[in-house]
Symmetry: C2
Subunit: 105 residues, 2 copies
């Protein structure tokens, strides 16, 4: 569940969100988007957890790859539905991972 990312530098998109109580296809969409993103160029992995409060961090090779994913058609539709229905608030932070370390290895 912890993404196996390469040696830095690489990029992280930190998405933190507050859900509404509206389901309306949310579970399915999350599954679909999680499948799609794995084939997206420059994708390095993602970690996601939460319920009413959600944090999802995705990892990318470059800013250009992040931009391409933001504009991917199915993802655009999901973003629209996110704003209209699933989320009452969210924040997206684009960051450059400069250093990392972990407990095991």
């Amino acid at each position: 569940m912890i993404s196996k990312t390469p040696v830095p530098p690489y990029y992280a998109v930190i998405f933190t969100a507050i859900r509404t109580e509206k389901e309306e296809g949310y579970g399915n969409a999350v599954g679909e988007i999680a499948k799609l993103v794995k084939n997206q160029p420059g994708y390095l992995g993602h970690e996601s957890v939460g319920d009413r409060f959600e944090i999802t961090v995705s990892y990318w090779e470059s800013l250009e790859h992040i931009k391409q994913w933001k504009l991917q058609t199915d993802h655009l539709l999901a973003q629209k539905k996110g704003r209209s229905t699933w989320y009452s608030d969210y924040k997206v932070r684009i960051s450059k991972v400069e250093r990392d370390y972990q407990m095991n290895n």
Copy 2:
């Protein structure tokens, strides 16, 4: 629950972890550390969610402030207990937030 961070650049520490089943003071320690960090120089906010899989992102003015917090005495003790007892694995990523945007504001 979404941190009100200043205009970038600032820094984010992305902590992703897998918990063991051992409680041993975990809940109390999380509460204590969350209180302590608020008085730490350079602290800008943090977001945390999860149970067996946990993501915590904390925000900081500078790399130097992150280093100071890593070496804070009570935090050092918590890190030690984390490695010995509470976590079976974790990863820490130090990143520079270059851009952010949000749904409401």
